[in-house]
């Protein structure tokens, strides 16, 4: 209970502003990369940048870095489920 109250004070406005600035820079990067003509790698590059942005939002805006361990575990389990669905779907697509 007390620990939880302390946690909410863990992140200051400065951290949020830094995360926001990083997200802005990464948005610029992902738009800039499209002008490089990477062909098939373009989508991979876009997804890598989007995943980094998502990680920043999860860790700082959504406080996962400061939560109990069970929260990141639950998120990983959900993402694992998503990847399982994705892989199973593509196994069907590729062997059609």
């Amino acid at each position: 209970m007390e620990g939880n109250l302390k946690q909410s004070h863990h992140i200051g406005a400065k951290t949020y502003l830094l995360v926001w600035a990083a997200l802005m820079v990464l948005t610029g990067v992902t738009v800039g990369v499209t002008f490089l003509d990477l062909r098939n790698f373009a989508i991979v590059a876009a997804m890598i940048v989007a995943s980094i942005k998502a990680l920043l939002v999860l860790l700082y805006f959504m406080h996962i870095r400061y939560e109990k361990k069970v929260f990141p575990f639950m998120i990983l389990a959900t993402l694992g489920m998503f990847w399982l669905f994705l892989i199973l779907t593509f196994m069907e697509v590729f062997t059609r």
Binding site: Y16, V31, T34, Y60, F61, M62, M74, L86, V93
Partner: protein
């Protein structure tokens, strides 16, 4: 600190936040299935998808990305301000978040209106005359950004409710789970857009 009063009522902030996360996981799966559909059709109709993506307005999409990420910042700052007991500051940040969310919807509606103007909407004669890949691309575009915009509207309502509770003095730094959970919801809406933006606007 009036901890006794809280334990009496079985107040449990960790469970409150976990319940919200469980709901967010169902949202991840809801959008996740659509992302899988998108990936499958991108694999099938790669060239048509690139052609469709080239017709979307990159400037408007980029602007909306900036607007939504900034609204995530103001939402986080609203929670931060209230946790320090600064109610009026928190109220202002909530107001800014609602304004930015409204801005996002305005830009989005201009984009959709421009597409409708060119005869591009699900089932339109213009779209039916195009390649199957482009039809699928624009169908996914309207369904996914439409469902996302619907989430933005729900988020705006939730944030307004929070602002109302805050103005009535019904929210305190000790009891602010409603605002924290609203924040989680709002950040998820932002997260989904972070993936929607490159998939629809940047695959040229």
């Amino acid at each position: 600190m009036n901890i006794e009063q809280h334990t009496e009522e079985h107040y449990d902030p960790v469970s409150n936040s976990m319940g919200m996360w469980l709901f967010l996981f169902t949202e991840v799966m809801l959008f996740g299935v659509m992302f899988i559909l998108y990936a499958m059709y991108l694999h099938t109709y790669g060239i048509d998808f690139r052609h469709g993506s080239g017709q979307l307005n990159l400037v408007m999409g980029g602007l909306n990305t900036v607007v939504l990420i900034t609204s995530s910042l103001t939402m986080a700052l609203a929670i931060w301000a209230l946790s320090l007991g600064q109610r009026s500051k928190s109220f202002l940040f909530l107001g800014a978040t609602i304004a930015l969310a409204g801005g996002f919807l305005v830009v989005k509606s201009f984009e959709w209106a421009a597409k409708f103007h060119h005869g591009i909407y699900p089932g339109s004669a213009e779209l039916l005359s195009r390649s199957p890949g482009e039809m699928v691309f624009f169908s996914l575009y309207f369904v996914m950004t439409g469902l996302h915009a619907f989430h933005v509207i729900i988020g705006m309502i939730l944030i307004t409710v929070n602002a109302g509770f805050l103005a009535k003095g019904k929210m305190s730094p000790e009891r602010m789970d409603l605002m924290k959970n609203t924040g989680l919801y709002w950040h998820l809406v932002d997260l989904i857009w972070i993936f929607l933006f490159p998939l629809f606007y940047l695959i040229v």
